[in-house]
């Protein structure tokens, strides 16, 4: 459980800073720091076991059917990265506490940071590669939030968008690659995949999988030609740059390459794609870095260059090169994080990070100068610092590797890259800290407080110590990490002196050459400025702009604000898709015998056809059209009765009443006549409608003329309705028992619909043009003189108890005979609506003691409570139970929990129908002005009426 807990810890802890910020900024930082420290401690406890060569595992089944399980593992590689992520994370949290200004929302920052940390930790601890993908995407999302943390900066938002677009696109490619890989290996568990090298490399799908996965790695690790997002992401606050864009996130791509190294590497494809990309990236990044004037841009391109270096080493595919790669990952994280933090300090103190405006800071900021120098010299590979060690080992590997049969090409280019690296490192020191002291800084700088320089200073100490005693400080970690990458094939031996080998001369040559380049910077810069420099950002932006224009063009053409046109397009598409699917399949001839037609059926059909055609012809006369809709609804109800569906008939006929009342209420306000339309439109729509009708009719006919292709599940419900559900009305038992969960969802939706109607009404009545229009409403001509005719009032009141009784009766018998909660709810609703219609809204509302909202809520709660009740019997949600009870004077009757559930359905349906119609009535009151308080407009019992 421990590993899953470690991975979950930052996510859980992400809640803390947001809450603790109320207790102050230091408390907030402490909260974030203690979460990270705890996770670090928990990882640390596993170190002895991992060093013994064990792999710690936690397995939790998530979606085993899909192969997606929350399986975690901790091996040497995971340990190295986990320590990096948490260790540097801790330093960043300290640094950010003093870096962020009081105006920045610090709680938000730490929450984002911890989310990112959790996602990153998840990547390196995942055993399941699908789980790894989930965390991979989470790093893209959380880094989007972090890069765009300063929301007011347009370049921050731009950088965040670009980073998300590039890494997100790569992530999409990677999903495809990982799915192919998992299918090749027969499992999505890394521990299985890593054993399937022969199978995977022999497959034809190896190359597609490799390219797709590498796309994900290269975009994430800013490899050429996807490197351009990283410098743009420098608009983020410096702690983010130091954490995400040097030490951790950009290493995720390297991590995955290292993780899959045992199965993917060693082929010519791997070598030429990975090593070449790495080499090009290393050189390109180094050249650009040398000529950048922005401190952070310089560091960003140098990061690109170093990432390229590591990629190249992984690409070599030899165990020796993999060891160097792992070693350099560790070294680079140390010195680059320190350098970013120093750049942040300079920016913080001088209020500028433009190298041209800096210089001579060594006297003003001696501490920062010392830290920066150590870190930069390590980056340059000056002995005895740790950067020297890994760089010399890298050059050694380069001399042993041939490219296309050319034995010196890689070594020469790698040396050139190293030389440039020395040059920009010297420039960083020389142009910022050395040189004449200036007094034209935007802000007179001095060293910051201990809090700000403590973190980089700690890293600088590590750089020195691990340089002096590499085997003691980092050797064991590199060894266990490299062992995991190369499956034990690597020998780790880090020493300063290899003798006078070629690599030593190359390394010394690079230092000398780099020094000369840095001294000759001014003329070189003039040449650089004169050269044409293609900017990848421009390509990206124009690509995005083109994609945007394309999307807009399509959207504009499909959806120009004309809903009817969009519907017509959707209709035609659906018809075409249906026809294509239907005609593309094979069909057996219809063998089912026809049901005989009794004389009544054609009469009903004629009524239906006549009303439907009539409706289309006269639909512009809205009141007449509504009458015809009512007729159609009635015939549909009759059809249900005729075709053995009494429940449906009862439901349909009661819904029909409610619907017609609803539409009549609406029509009170809407225009009574629809204006005519152009004949061409009518003809076009008639063609679409005719096609739709033919398709729907033809399809149902084809269905009805054939038997089921597979045995249906109806037989199960028929057989078990009485024995399992305790009811003989199978439809009702299905609703409240077999498919009770569906019904629960449906009454919830119905309740929500009613609340939406209520909310819409509230919005209209709150004010604005709609309310004004209602207040100025002129009643339509021909209003009845007597709004509440006496006979109607008396009859509805006499009928009310009877109607309620019918409702109760329908409800109670529902389990065994046609009826049930839905129908009973509708019947009672109609009985109440009659009171509204006859006696008036105000009179009826005054006599209503229950709120309709409460009825809906009660209904849903009763249904849910019934379902939850099953838990107390140790059964799943909504398991029903029933029994038979005998009370002496009565017959034996049945008690079923399903009846209670049905009561919930009843209440919810009643509440929803009443709330919907009552809401519309409120509009009428707003418009009508006069509200009755008495049941009759003309009361014969009053003397003045006589």
């Amino acid at each position: 459980m421990s590993l899953a807990l470690i991975a979950a810890l930052p996510f859980l802890g992400a809640l803390l800073p947001g809450l603790m910020i109320r207790a102050g900024r230091t408390t907030c930082a402490l909260a974030a720091g203690s979460v990270t420290a705890l996770a670090l401690l928990m990882v640390g406890l596993h170190i002895p076991a991992v060093l013994r060569g064990e792999v710690i595992r936690t397995r939790i089944d998530w979606l085993p059917q899909l192969g997606l399980n929350a399986n975690f593992m901790l091996d040497g590689l995971g340990l190295l990265f986990a320590l990096l992520i948490l260790g540097i994370g801790l330093l960043i949290i300290l640094y950010a506490r003093f870096y962020l200004s009081p105006a920045d929302p610090m709680g938000q920052f730490y929450t984002f940071l911890l989310l990112f940390q959790g996602a990153m930790l998840g990547i390196v601890l995942s055993d399941n590669i699908l789980l790894l993908l989930v965390f991979w995407e989470l790093t893209s999302l959380s880094s989007f939030l972090l890069i765009g943390y300063w929301k007011h900066l347009p370049e921050g938002r731009r950088g965040a968008r670009m980073a998300l677009a590039v890494t997100g696109t790569g992530g999409l490619a990677m999903i495809a690659g990982v799915l192919i890989l998992g299918n090749l290996a027969g499992s999505f568990d890394l521990s299985v995949i890593l054993t399937q090298k022969e199978v995977i490399q022999a497959s034809d799908w190896y190359l597609p999988a490799l390219i797709l996965i590498l796309l994900g790695c290269f975009t994430k690790s800013a490899q050429f030609p996807f490197h351009f997002w990283l410098p743009q992401a420098m608009a983020a606050p410096t702690p983010v740059s130091a954490y995400l864009h040097s030490a951790t996130m950009v290493k995720a791509g390297l991590f995955l390459m290292a993780r899959l190294w045992p199965v993917m590497s060693g082929t010519p494809e791997w070598f030429y794609i990975v090593a070449t990309t790495g080499l090009v990236t290393m050189l390109l990044g180094a050249v650009v870095a040398l000529f950048k004037d922005d401190l952070k841009a310089l560091l960003a391109y140098s990061t690109v260059s170093h990432l390229g270096l590591i990629t190249m080493l992984l690409g070599f595919g030899t165990p020796g090169a993999a060891v160097v790669a792992v070693f350099h990952i560790l070294n680079h994280a140390g010195f680059k994080a320190a350098l970013f933090m120093c750049a942040g300090i300079v920016d913080h103190e001088v209020h500028s990070r433009d190298i041209r405006r800096l210089g001579g800071l060594r006297h003003l900021m001696p501490v920062t100068f010392a830290i920066s120098t150590v870190a930069a010299l390590s980056m340059a590979g000056i002995p005895p610092l740790n950067g020297f060690l890994s760089k010399e080992m890298m050059l050694d590997q380069a001399t042993q590797t041939a490219w296309m049969g050319n034995p010196w090409l890689i070594a020469a280019l790698a040396t050139l890259g190293a030389m440039l690296s020395v040059a920009y490192a010297f420039r960083f020191i020389g142009h910022v800290f050395l040189g004449p002291v200036r007094n034209d800084h935007p802000h007179v700088p001095h060293d910051p407080g201990f809090g700000l320089w403590a973190a980089p200073a700690f890293l600088a100490v590590l750089v020195i110590v691990s340089g002096l005693m590499p085997m003691t400080l980092s050797g064991w970690l590199v060894a266990t990490g490299a062992e995991a990458v190369t499956a034990g094939a690597a020998q780790v031996k880090i020493v300063h002196w290899h003798g006078f080998v070629t690599a030593l001369w190359l390394s010394l040559g690079a230092i000398a050459g780099g020094f000369i380049l840095a001294r000759r910077y001014a003329p070189l810069n003039r040449i650089w400025l004169a050269l044409p420099r293609p900017d990848a950002t421009l390509f990206f932006n124009s690509g995005i702009a083109r994609a945007f224009a394309l999307a807009q063009g399509i959207t504009g053409r499909l959806h120009d604000g004309s809903a009817t046109r969009a519907l017509a397009i959707a209709g035609v598409t659906m018809i075409a898709a249906g026809l294509w699917a239907f005609l593309g399949g094979s069909h057996s001839p219809g063998t089912r015998s026809l049901t005989p037609v009794e004389p009544l059926a054609p009469v009903g059909w004629l009524l239906l056809a006549g009303s439907t055609i009539g409706l289309v012809l006269v639909h512009r006369n809205r009141v007449l059209a509504l009458v015809l809709v009512g007729v159609i609804g009635l015939i549909v109800s009759v059809t249900f009765v005729y075709l053995s569906a009494p429940d449906l008939a009862l439901t349909q006929i009661s819904v029909e009443v409610a619907t017609v009342i609803l539409m009549l209420l609406a029509l009170n306000f809407l225009p009574k006549v629809t204006p005519p339309e152009r004949l061409t439109r009518v003809a076009r729509d008639a063609v679409i409608a005719g096609a739709a009708g033919l398709c729907a009719g033809g399809l149902i006919l084809a269905l009805m003329l054939r038997d089921f292709a597979f045995p249906g599940i109806a037989a199960y419900h028929i057989a078990n309705s009485k024995t399992e559900g305790g009811g003989t009305n199978i439809v009702n038992v299905i609703l409240v028992d077999f498919r009770g969960y569906d019904t629960f969802g449906e009454i919830t939706v119905l309740g929500i619909a009613a609340l939406v109607i209520y909310a819409l009404t509230e919005a209209i009545l709150k004010g604005g043009p709609a309310n004004d229009r209602l207040l100025n409403w002129l009643p339509a001509r021909g209003r009845a003189g007597d709004r509440h005719p006496m006979m109607f009032v008396i009859v509805t009141r006499l009928i009310l108890p009877v109607a309620l009784m019918v409702g109760v009766f329908i409800f109670l018998r529902g389990h065994n005979l046609p009826g049930g909660g839905f129908i009973a709810g509708l019947i009672v609703a109609i009985a109440l609506l009659m009171q509204y219609m006859a006696s008036g809204f105000a009179w009826a509302a005054a006599r209503r003691s229950v709120d309709y909202h409460a009825l809906i809520a009660l209904g849903v709660l009763v249904a849910a409570g019934t379902g939850i009740g099953a838990w107390f019997n140790g059964r799943p949600f909504l398991t029903s139970d029933f029994g038979y009870v005998t009370l002496p004077p009565l017959e034996t009757f049945e008690l079923a929990t399903a009846a209670l559930f049905d009561a919930g359905v009843f209440l919810c349906v009643l509440g929803a129908v009443m709330l919907a119609l009552a809401s519309i009535s409120r509009l009428a009151i707003r418009a009508g002005g006069t509200v009755n308080t008495r049941p009759f407009d003309i009361d014969p019992s009053q003397p003045e009426a006589r």
Binding site: D560, S562, A563, T564, G571, L594, T595, P596, E598, L608, A609, T612, I613, V616, H619, R620, A625, V629, G633, V636, S644, A645, D647, T651, A658, T659, M663, A666, L670, P671, T674, R678, A689, A692, G693, A696, I700, L703, M704, L705, F708, A714, I718, K722, N729, I730, I734, E746, V749, L750, A754, V756, L760, A763, P769, N771, A912, V913, L917, I920
Partner: protein
Amino acid sequence: MEYLIASGVGLMTAAGVYLILRRHTFPVILGLALLSYAVNLFIFASGRVVIGQPPILTKGAAGYTDPLTQALVLTAIVISFGMSAVIVMMALGAFLETGHDRIDTNDGKNDGEGTGD
């Protein structure tokens, strides 16, 4: 019988589609109601039609029609009422808010009719 039902479904679908392609709210509401009838009848009929065999367990019954499609359609009828009510309310709100009941926001630009009311 099957031909009667199929032609009924076809007719109601055609009328429903025709009406929801109109440019004013009320015919669209009617069209949706008609489509609901058609779809409900469609789903119901996909259980195959049987006369005189309701799915109520009784002694000596010759057989039962498919209860499953009935259960599906029963809730569908109630939900379609909820949907109609929401759409009616939206139509009403839109009419009161804007003073017209056209549903195309680009009206008069490319469909010559001009103002509707």
